[in-house]
Symmetry: C2
Subunit: 380 residues, 2 copies
Amino acid sequence: MENSNYNITIIGAGNGGRAFAVYLSRLGHDVTLLYRSSKYVENIKSSKTILSFGYISGSHKLKMITNNYKKAIENADIILYVVPASAHLSITKEILPYLKNNQIIILNPGRTWGAVEVYNAIKNNRPKLQIHVGETQTLLFTCRKIHDFGVSILKIKNSVDFCFYPEEDNKILFPIINSIFPEFNLVDDIRETSLNNIGAVIHPVITVLNAGSITRKSDFHFYEEGISKKIANLVEKVDQERCKILRYIGVKPISLIKWANRVYGCKATDYYEVFHQIESYKNIKAPVSLRVRYLTEDIPTGLVPLSSIGKYISISTPNINSIIVIATTLLNTNFYKIGRTIERIPALKTLLIKKLVKKRPGVPYTLLQAQNPIFYNNFE
Amino acid sequence: MENSNYNITIIGAGNGGRAFAVYLSRLGHDVTLLYRSSKYVENIKSSKTILSFGYISGSHKLKMITNNYKKAIENADIILYVVPASAHLSITKEILPYLKNNQIIILNPGRTWGAVEVYNAIKNNRPKLQIHVGETQTLLFTCRKIHDFGVSILKIKNSVDFCFYPEEDNKILFPIINSIFPEFNLVDDIRETSLNNIGAVIHPVITVLNAGSITRKSDFHFYEEGISKKIANLVEKVDQERCKILRYIGVKPISLIKWANRVYGCKATDYYEVFHQIESYKNIKAPVSLRVRYLTEDIPTGLVPLSSIGKYISISTPNINSIIVIATTLLNTNFYKIGRTIERIPALKTLLIKKLVKKRPGVPYTLLQAQNPIFYNNFE
């Protein structure tokens, strides 16, 4: 397939959004950058350029930078969401009136069930619209924004899993996506990109078990010092509960250790070593507040979906649930209610049953019932 | 009632055990002190005296100091347990062969269900023995041991709730106990001393939410710095779950705030203020390990019994359960299994039903069933 130029709109002008803008502009695409807050974008706005350093360096021209959803969306071929997953739904509501047939939306990343939620939110409101929604398993870049003018791209990952939802779109549309992003690796099951959400296994545990330090603003390195051997026990249990769910529904799980060894090239054999072998983790500081993406994003779009599936298929997730309950109480925010649950996104139930029947014909339907009312009622 | 002299054996030569020895020796009783570890008791052993400072000061003679259970128990009129509640059962096993009719055992304090557990352990093994077991709601003293020779008594509390189990013993035996300990205040329901376990509401939450700091041995003041407003939310929810259980079973709950205002004379109106108003909390340092009484004692003999009753009467305790689950995983110790549950101490079930029928005749028996299998199965 020959290279084409596309109108690509990037929603989000933070770390990842800027990296995508640089990456795509260099390839000759027409890039529109939509910023949600005008904080730290003044220079990019006035110059319509982003300076980049590191893996890609130079000055990169934007076609447009705007906070006007109509302008940003109406001429886009491809729309990239590069925002916390907890904003996927509100952004979908913003762009809904301006979407046109055959536009492609890609969530970077989808966290857990991002593409399913966004696809269904659009279809529920505009059932006749031909829309295509895909998601990645993780962000393509390791990057940090630089003030109001640039971005530092520390790494472009070698391989990032990608899938459309519904998966029927993969066949025709993935070649287009792959011509733009050769690093994307097609998987044929949306559950693989969704349920190998490693961030959700790591961040909430470290944040909750260090809540004291964080709230008294005591300085520590998040990964290097935030994890002791005993806290690593908890990360391991959370990961085991996740992997058990994946195995039950017929998806091959990638354990945190396997993922880290693959992505970061370390040779860890236990959950404590992982965090002390990853070089780029070493200098990352702890957050200064508990109202941080590690909880506000990773709980509702990571741990809550896992808990919800676990409840549905009767696989207990006590360690995951405990972290959700404590985060709910700490922040006085009902994460289970606002999170990506089977109750809130009925399409997930259909998806689970359909896939279970396909992949595990022996599993009785009667098992697929919620059986843990007390514990969950208390989220109300 | 005139004063008599008794043979009193104190089991445990730590902070509280030494304070009791000083207190009782001063009143002219014959005091036997049983030490469990010979660490830090050399001087007391060789001199058979304890030096005391603070509220009581002087040099106090012991009748005997020993680690021999037979010698310590066979001539005792009254036996005081002054040890972590997690040791109540192992001590009971040690003294079982030497107990005689009409000896009185007092747990200082009983934590939750201490007297019930000890009484039944004795009755199950020596059903014909006439034994009397009582418990206090909290330790009579605020005190700290001093090296291998003494103790500092910072406070003798004005009023400490006391009850025998079964409560029939109160009528005849409490006057004897009260003649020795005028600070003891008789309550007529063992559930009052057992379920107003305030330590269990406070310690595990602070410890778990500061697990990161504690395991990396970062220095902080346990109460003064360990509790932020967000962490106080969690203490509040744990206390509310406890109070809800008490109300349901017809026991008037004492909230943490009410308790603190009464015991420490503060005027706190919320759960954050409490910890910053109590003067004697200010300089208490954090523990240097997670394997500390705040978890190893307060979880199995405090939060686990509450969770177990909650499950039994269908009152959900998600915040309490979450702390239990996380402590279980952190320390790789099945606290629910070893803790004081209705499953492990069947007498608790009888007690609950009997009291419910007496105090709340309208409560249907059918409600009194475990209904939360998934969550609890995972403790196995």
